[in-house]
Amino acid sequence: MAAPELIVPDLEINRRLTVLPMQEYYASGHRTCQGCESALVMRYMAKVAGPRTLVTGTTGCMYVANTSYNSTPWVLPWAHTQLGSAGSSAIGTAAALKVLMRKGKIADERINVIAFCSDGGGGDMGLATLSAAMQDTRYNLLILLYDNESYANTDIQASGMTPWGAVTAFTPSGKVRRITHHRWKKNVPALLMAGHPTGRYFANTSSGFGMDLMEKVRTALDVGGPTFVQTHDPCPKGWDYDPRMSHELAVMAVECGITVLWDCLEGELRYQGLTKQQVEGKVRRRPVADYLRRQGRFDHFADEDLDFFQSRIDEMWEDWILPGVLRIKQTPLGRLPTSSAHPQASAHGPEAAAARGHRD
């Protein structure tokens, strides 16, 4: 095994990325769908991680569509791990590197360990392993959750991170029941951040904001310890829209306040980009209908469904102490001043929805 020439600029001092390497470590060879944003996320991730990186990935689109035998897109070493095993694969890999370096069985150097998972693999089945990984401060590891909001490589089935009301193979819209997906999307980065004070870095980002995404991946790798980054990735097959619209939809989700660009480094919460301007009241959120109406999975939505969706999004911006991140409205210390920002006076408050007797 000859060590390849180190061709990436030293990124450790370059957390606010101003120079990007030309090299790609996720290249051609995959057979993902046209307009697949998750493949783009893999490319961003590999690019800023650089060649001294080990990647494991769970079963899902980024396994089945990504890595056919004799046709891998991975320039980096990559290994499959089982659907619910992102956290455990990262721990096993990082622990082995640590002990082999300590015993002098391999050269002592900084090697990034990244385990990626999907919304199904990470948010549903493997959530306990993500939790375990965020606890183990002995190891440097990054879990990247690419969230395309369904089990998209199987047949588009609802996951715990599929938006409320969306049509999937398991949650169709029928003549008697218009809405059959009753669960509101779970917020995995916030849930991990809130419950794991030992995790050093948590971030939520979007495939539509490449620089933000790459900076967050790089920050996670630089700070070391257990870290977590989630990306919101539009999926033409699962969401039912023209593949040309992938990037626009990713951006629009942020414009509507559905996707929130935030990170938390060593306990300090920060908002980025468009989200930051929304929090500061400089930019108004777009109505969620603009985003929902462009996707076939929400075609069956009646006006009251749109109103309900809007009311939930409004609530997380107007009533939560940490807008868009944690559902805390009130504390024993009273409301905190950060909740004063009301970027948009909404006619679709949660109380209004309740008054209409909304039923899902």
Binding site: L54, V64, T72, T129
Partner: protein, 433 residues
């Protein structure tokens, strides 16, 4: 505790080491220390977990250098072991009963990825209803997946076989994981006098773990386990099959080498034969029933009965040639299963089914009688074993193959053979009585 230095018979080699009174789990832990295992992942379930307690104590006391990870489930535990092994670390896992089954998916991929992880299974009954005691069904669940399987009888054998397991599993011709089975409570937690060798001969016997060009490292940018589909999966299965078949020879070679290095160990790597020289009848079993089986044989031999005991040690690869040559000239053989396979051939246990299949090609076969005993940790006594020999003799005397499975030591109405053989009190509709 005594320090022993003696000459290994026939070799002139001086074997260092010391004798200790330790449990089966502690014996495995000592082997793991001697093997300089790199990564261990534990998750609590009785009774295997004592090995992890022992190892974590040794790490805390500086007697062993390894990463010990307390996983949040067996599935994670086994995945951690698998991925550590892929990076080039010598890895150890273990479980019992339903815990072993909780991580089943991870166990299967460890074998199909050909990673030589070693596991201790402290055999335990499967739920429900709950029981801590021994049954062999837990470890047997992986019998078709490419795991090497071994059942030990004593703490000394547990230590020695742990060394042997790493040697065989990490051999380039094999590269398969190995599960060492140990009867829960009867062996995991009972103390024996165990000779613990020095590290030096152990490192001579088990060379460093080397994954070669499969090692997961930035200098070796490989893609591990891409999607094969119908294009190549059959070829991958065939490679695992070839590795398992090669394991037979590697086990023989390693066992002979164990003799050379440590000056002790069995002659036959696969089957522990007890007083079989002129035997007309034999019992077959796995694990600690060997102890009472041998005791029963001694008693029956005192009454002039020509009976012996065979303990199957390696279950995968199955000792087909050894059992054929040992059994073909006998009159009658009783197979004692500490497991079950409901609805299987003869409604018997797994071991019976395997032994029967192994004997099928033989032109001359003994009468083979299936028994199930000691489920859920119920004690199997020497009297039980004598009873099994008597039933085997009676069935043999009738001169025909009667494959009705006999349950030994069952109480209540279930003890009545007609309970299983008779008609159901509520026959399914349309079934003639």
């Amino acid at each position: 505790m005594t320090t022993a230095k003696e000459t290994a018979p026939g070799t002139g080699a001086v074997v260092h080491g010391q004798e200790e009174i330790i449990t089966g789990c502690d014996a495995v832990a000592q082997a793991l220390r001697l093997l300089d295992v790199d990564v261990l992942a534990g998750y609590p379930i009785r009774p295997y977990d004592s090995v992890m307690s022992a190892v974590s104590k040794m790490i805390a006391n500086g007697q062993m250098d390894a990463e010990f990870i307390v996983a949040e489930s067996e599935h994670s535990q086994f995945e951690i072991g698998k991925h550590a092994s892929l990076v080039g670390a010598r890895a150890f896992i273990g479980s019992s009963g339903v815990g072993w089954l909780y991580g089943m998916e991870a166990l299967v991929v460890t074998a199909s990825l050909r990673l030589p992880v070693i596991a201790l299974v402290g055999n335990r009954a499967l739920d429900d209803p709950g029981a801590f005691g021994v049954e062999h069904n837990d470890a047997l669940m992986v019998r078709d997946t490419g795991w090497l399987l071994y059942w030990v009888e004593s703490a000394q054998e547990a230590l020695d076989t742990t060394l042997l397991a790493y040697r065989v599993a990490e051999d380039k011709r094999v590269m398969l994981p190995c599960a060492l089975s140990m009867d829960g409570a009867f062996l995991t937690h009972s103390q024996h006098i165990v000779r613990v060798p020095d590290p030096e001969p152990v490192s001579r016997f088990v060379p460093p773990y080397d994954l070669g060009d499969r090692q997961f490292h930035p200098d070796n940018p490989i893609s591990v386990a891409p999607q094969f589909n119908e294009d190549w999966v059959m070829e991958a299965r065939r490679q695992s099959d070839a590795a398992m078949r090669r394991a037979r020879g590697v086990i023989k070679e390693a066992t002979a080498d164990f003799h050379r290095v440590f000056g002790r160990g069995p002659e036959d790597p696969f089957v522990d034969s007890y007083r079989m020289e002129d035997a007309e009848y034999a019992l077959i079993g796995m694990g600690t029933v060997g102890m009472v089986g041998k005791l029963a044989v001694d008693r029956l031999r005192a009454h002039g009965k020509k009976v012996g005991f065979l303990r199957v040690k390696w279950f995968r690869p199955f000792p087909r040639p050894e059992l054929r040559s040992l059994l073909r000239n006998l009159k009658g053989v009783g197979v004692v299963d500490r497991d079950y396979s409901f609805g299987s051939n003869s409604d018997a246990g797994v071991l019976y089914t395997e032994v029967a299949a192994a004997l099928y090609p033989e032109p001359q076969r003994p009468v083979l009688v299936p028994f199930i005993a000691g489920l859920g940790g119920r004690e199997v006594s020497a009297e039980n074993m004598q009873e099994i020999v008597e039933i085997t003799e009676q069935v043999t005397a009738r001169g025909e193959q009667d494959t009705t499975c006999q349950w030994i030591g069952v109480r209540g109405p279930e003890a009545d053979p007609r309970h299983a053989a008779g008609p159901s009190p509520e026959p399914a509709e349309g079934v003639a009585r």
